[in-house]
Symmetry: C2
Subunit: 601 residues, 2 copies
Amino acid sequence: MSQYCSLDQLRFLLYEVFNVGELFKYERYQDHDVENFDILLDSIKDWSDKQLYPFFREMDEKPAYFEDGKVFTHPQIKTIFKEAGENGWLGQQLDYDHGGVQLPIIVNNAFNHIMEAANNHVPGYLGLTVGSAHLITTFGTKELQEKYVPNMLAGKWAGTMCLTEPQAGSSLSDVKTSAAPQKDGTYLIKGHKIFISGGDQQATDNFVHLVLARIDGAPAGTKGISLFVVPKYIESQDGDMQYNDVETAGDFQKLGQRGYSTVHLVFGDNNQCKGWLVGEANLGLKQMFQMMNGARIDVGLTAASVATAAYYASLQYAKERPQGRKLNSEGEKDASSEQVLIINHPDVKRMLFLQKAIAEGSLSLLLECSKYYDISTAATGEERQDAHLLLELLTPIAKTYPSEKGKIAVDNGLQVLGGYGYCSEFVLQQYYRDIRIMSIYEGTTGIQSLDLLGRKVPMKNGKALQLLMDKINQVVKEAETIEGLKPYAAIMTKRLADVQEVLMSLMPFAMKQEYEKYLADANLFMELSGILVIGYQWLRMAVIADKALKNPQRRFDSSFYEDKIHLMKFYFKYEMPKINALKHSLLNQDFLTIVENDAVF
Amino acid sequence: MSQYCSLDQLRFLLYEVFNVGELFKYERYQDHDVENFDILLDSIKDWSDKQLYPFFREMDEKPAYFEDGKVFTHPQIKTIFKEAGENGWLGQQLDYDHGGVQLPIIVNNAFNHIMEAANNHVPGYLGLTVGSAHLITTFGTKELQEKYVPNMLAGKWAGTMCLTEPQAGSSLSDVKTSAAPQKDGTYLIKGHKIFISGGDQQATDNFVHLVLARIDGAPAGTKGISLFVVPKYIESQDGDMQYNDVETAGDFQKLGQRGYSTVHLVFGDNNQCKGWLVGEANLGLKQMFQMMNGARIDVGLTAASVATAAYYASLQYAKERPQGRKLNSEGEKDASSEQVLIINHPDVKRMLFLQKAIAEGSLSLLLECSKYYDISTAATGEERQDAHLLLELLTPIAKTYPSEKGKIAVDNGLQVLGGYGYCSEFVLQQYYRDIRIMSIYEGTTGIQSLDLLGRKVPMKNGKALQLLMDKINQVVKEAETIEGLKPYAAIMTKRLADVQEVLMSLMPFAMKQEYEKYLADANLFMELSGILVIGYQWLRMAVIADKALKNPQRRFDSSFYEDKIHLMKFYFKYEMPKINALKHSLLNQDFLTIVENDAVF
């Protein structure tokens, strides 16, 4: 069994960096304890070793396919749904009343990280099922909840989110799928949905599709979209399953994540597809955003997990492969000496450290977001609001940084193997293909960047950004008290000033209502923010590592903590300066991308 | 037929930027004229439209495979070898005496660009054949030349270069393949070679392998390597083809370039493999570098060509796909209005411009290198020497920039298509996979970076670098005389100073013989150099475009030249600032990648 993630790193983050024990003070989490988390971490890892990782290559080599109106996936998906359900691992974060155990999301996401690193083709099936169930428990009627949620959490029925349509893509205001009200209170659903992850497979008995559609006569745009539960089969009172006119029209063949089906669904081609409204009419998109925000965090987490697995795969190769020699003081190599392991070459080390810095920094950010989610769920008053604002601000970054920089991490992992990295015999090329979707899923990087700069930064007069700055400054202050970390605290202070400078230069455009100019380089602002926020993760890890090194009761060997400080220095040397370059580009007010259609081609 | 390259762009570069007519003053090229180049450009494009481009997707979907000791490739490869040979397109750059027409390489590489953009799985077969033939004409005996070269240039026999061995990878000093001298003057060759591009296929009747091997008793390391011609079949005087004990052991299945075979060859497993020494014993690696340097340029050119083709594919999509709307002055979108084509979104424009800036900048650099090659072949004295030095210095950059930044370009191309970009139905995912090998072929980016900083920069006391600086400063001076370009000239001057500053900070390590420190961040120096040198390409293109705009006799519409100036500005806004960040990292003398084996993991 190759290593694909590190439980030590997870424990360090959960217990030392994010101190999950703090959450037990909230009534919601009072029944939990760290010992139990620890046992679960090991159980999930053992299970992933047995049920997920061994099928990872196979799911790529024998991808999901469409035949006779059905999508077939790897048979192991059935076992996984079944066992995850039986083990009680689906929806642990839900309320006791809804079949969950109120597990903090930060812990749940630590579990997800293990599963995603083991086999990123699989957790989406489970995650969408839980997300759909959660959406029903939040907005659905008691009847809908009782009808669907127990079977979903048991792993018997799968859930999906159906947003994208062929003509609309990312533009949800153009959703056309229609919902015609019927006398019995249900709706007749009609329309095409594409790119539906897990939208068909033969592993579960039923599908509970959560569909965005427009009730006849609803307003144009996003304000006329409603949310529906549309099962593939309707269960009658005597348990018969009646087909609900949800047809599978095809499965998209993809560059990667080939074990994870991506389906084209046709609702109501025979005018017999029934849907049930969830929550309020015309508030569908807003409600869907509960699931969407969760899914964005999941995508970021999957990207971080793929990057982690790729890192360990390339590390293993670098530790085993002899090639080349060190230069002697004449700048030459002694050909009669033994070759060295490639891990000894500085450039290979650079590629390994870069991967690790990106992967672990990303994981840390995702767990920070998860903790804000937990606090925003359990706390009250200002504490709740602040956590919610921080989560809102950080979500697009936590989705995008791991997706974009994760590609670079895996690219470096592949490069460590040289020619072998490009060969199908080695796994790196699979990670390289798998991770590429993450910057597209659930809103592309372009969409996330507009969300960050266009909505989240100005939100509540910049309150969320101010809260984040406060958090970062708090870590800077701690770092300033530690001799060895002072220079890095100083760098962070400068980079924070860079962000302010960029915003000061952009804000006038927003105030003059020149939104196109304000947002033209949102992508660069996103990249800058991501580098900054991951720098903050590393500075905090270094502060905590420094404290642990001074504490004889530390959990891990001193080398574990020394490594964190080293990686922080690496990140500050190689990644943080990029903020300066991005600032430079952002301060340049020559709006070269706002030009006529046919110019410059 | 989709567009995959631009003949206008090629003509602009050949005739206006690099003024190929200048070459006719050399005796070597005196028989050529521009009109003939023009006709050939059109012929090669027509042929590529018919014989290369239509098979591009198919070669990926039905990759080369190994069966019964043979490698099978797409049957079209046979037609291509045959027609390229019959058309006289193989080895046009060779001397008249050797079957060529002394075509300038700059023109030959313009042809290659078209073919590589049309179908990058194919030109390698032809390029290696010509490169091998050229190696034989340069160093081989008259007998070897007569025996092999005519059949190679006719497209009947294929050539390959056999360097890599399983235990050695990039470390050529560890080549083990042996060559035992025989009484008849030949050698018995024995050993394994892997990753042999085009090393087997069923399209040609024979293979002429150029093999690095060690004559019994030769010194260790690279100083004991000799070069051999090892045919797969030996032609007897009566024309019989006798098997020469060159066995195909397998074909590597790869992430991309799946139509291009990558073969494991076993020489002399039955002790009956004959080889003929090429040139001098123990000078094999030095001689092979003639072909290697050409191959490095070819790889860079292929990368630039893939990036070009990917750009046009994404541009076409962006011009056809409606999605989303412009923001109005309230920062909102009017859902009742028509959707706009995605090319209207600034972020999509940014992704398109970035691709174009990388692809065209790379192509320009590769043609500049080609021109230096032509001058270094045809000129005499200092002119010849200077051109050679510039070529030596620029080769690792011209191989690496298009390979590394080309990945980013294609990544952006895929992103333009959103979810469709990730689907096998669209071609972008294929370009994404294909281009990934370029930073590995013929020396990885790590190796190229050591070559640049470790060998080329210090070469002749920095003479080559000084020559390059002079070239750049010449363009800066021209730009300074043009009002609209002055600011960009000023930026270039500053960035040149950055390079000097970095070298001043690194040089002391080389002088103290601390080579590991000197070279630890060679990769970053490579990236910095690449960005600078492509900036110089763009500044020159802008200068020339500005002149053309003032000239009523200009070749193209004014919009063509305006676009060049716009793209230069884009490059200077978005790419040039990265030099500053890299400088920052390079000036940091905390050598974090020089650490003990097991640290930081």
